[in-house]
């Protein structure tokens, strides 16, 4: 009985930990920044998560606490309230900061290597592996001499139950 309870508690704790780490993405936005219209606010957050904070260049502007990120969040919300579409808002920011501000780089000539590189490398690795395994030589099956073959037969006939596939 005790063992079963321990097991159940462990599962419960594991689930609890799993639940705890299912957190929403980190947000640096202050409550005062958020728009009253939930649909617009959701749009603003979605766009913000796709834009790079240029100060801490690995974070989105939604996650970054930098003052510039705050300014850009406010600007995005202002543009949304003004009536701009998601695409227009992004174009507005890209016009001022370039494609680097998009966290997902656009698929274009300059970024072909970036986008296709990993797939290409994976393909090359797979091809390399295929060649390696194909051309591996089989170890020569040892051939028994006549004497050794007779000895083997004798041994096998002595103990018919032994030998063979397990």
């Amino acid at each position: 009985m005790k063992k079963v309870n321990c097991h159940r508690i462990n599962i419960f704790l594991a689930l609890l930990v799993l639940l705890a780490v299912q957190s929403a993405p980190a947000r640096a936005a202050e409550p005062g920044e958020m728009l009253h219209n939930p649909a617009q606010e959701a749009r603003a957050e979605k766009i913000g998560e796709q834009l790079r904070c240029l100060v801490c260049q690995n974070e989105s502007i939604e996650a970054s606490a930098a003052p510039l990120a705050h300014d850009l969040r406010v600007l995005i919300r202002h543009l949304i309230v003004k009536g701009d579409s998601n695409a227009q808002v992004k174009r507005y920011i890209v016009a001022r900061y370039g494609n680097y501000v998009l966290l997902k780089p656009p698929f274009m000539e300059e970024t072909l290597v970036l986008w296709l590189g990993p797939a290409f490398l994976l393909l090359a690795a797979l091809v390399g592996f295929a060649f390696y395994f194909r051309t591996r030589r089989e170890p020569d099956a040892a051939r028994l001499s006549g004497k050794e073959q007779k000895r083997l037969d004798a041994l096998l006939n002595e103990h018919p139950d032994q030998g063979g596939a397990a």
């Binding site: 240029l54 100060v55 260049q57 003052p67 510039l68 300014d71 850009l72 600007l75 890209v94 016009a95 001022r96 900061y97 370039g98 680097y100 501000v101 390696y132």
Partner: protein, 183 residues
């Protein structure tokens, strides 16, 4: 011939060597002054964005994008809270008299703080205006202070300097550019 069979084991080492070589090359470039975290400007070559900024000192006129026409202008975004601005500030006086109008824009700065800072550090600017919300700065594509923008007589942005100006940049890039734009 036997050793050739073991050649594939050198592949990880070769890959490491290639990667290490590449990284070393980049580090050498950085040691020589390359700044990979500076993003290339997309506003250079385009007309300066329209703006209309109030003066820092009451009684002085506003400065607008219309005022850029007809002369070469160097716009310098600074702030009293910006530490790097202190390094560049003494050098600004050396830019005067070389054919460019020097405009200071106090970026997201309290007017009192900006005035006090200029009183202490000296005011080399022909005019000082304020961008309290930082909206004009965003229109220029600013992402840190200090930043300087060189604008030609037609109001087109010709050059952007990210970070504090250095004597080398002023001597080798800025002043020659101003001379060219004044022809």
């Amino acid at each position: 011939m036997k050793t050739l069979r073991h050649l594939p084991y050198l592949i990880p080492l070769a890959l490491f060597a290639v990667l290490a070589g590449f990284m070393t090359w980049r580090l050498v470039l950085i040691a020589q002054g390359d700044t990979p975290n500076y993003i290339p400007s997309v506003t250079v070559g385009k007309p300066a964005p329209p703006f209309d900024l109030p003066p820092l000192y009451t009684g002085k006129p506003r400065f607008t994008s219309a005022d850029l026409k007809g002369k070469v202008t160097l716009i310098d975004f600074f702030a009293s809270w910006c530490v790097a601005c202190r390094a560049e500030h003494p050098l600004l006086a050396g830019i005067k008299g070389h054919g460019a109008v020097l405009i200071g824009i106090a970026y997201k700065d309290k007017p009192q703080a900006a005035k006090a800072w200029l009183a202490k550090m000296g005011d080399p600017y022909d005019e000082v205006v304020t961008d309290a919300q930082g909206r004009t700065a965003i229109d220029f594509g600013l992402y840190g202070v200090p930043e300087s923008y060189l604008i030609d007589k037609n109001g087109i942005i010709r050059m952007k300097e990210t970070g504090p100006l250095t004597p080398e940049v002023i001597r080798d890039d800025l002043l020659p550019a101003i001379a060219v734009l004044n022809r």
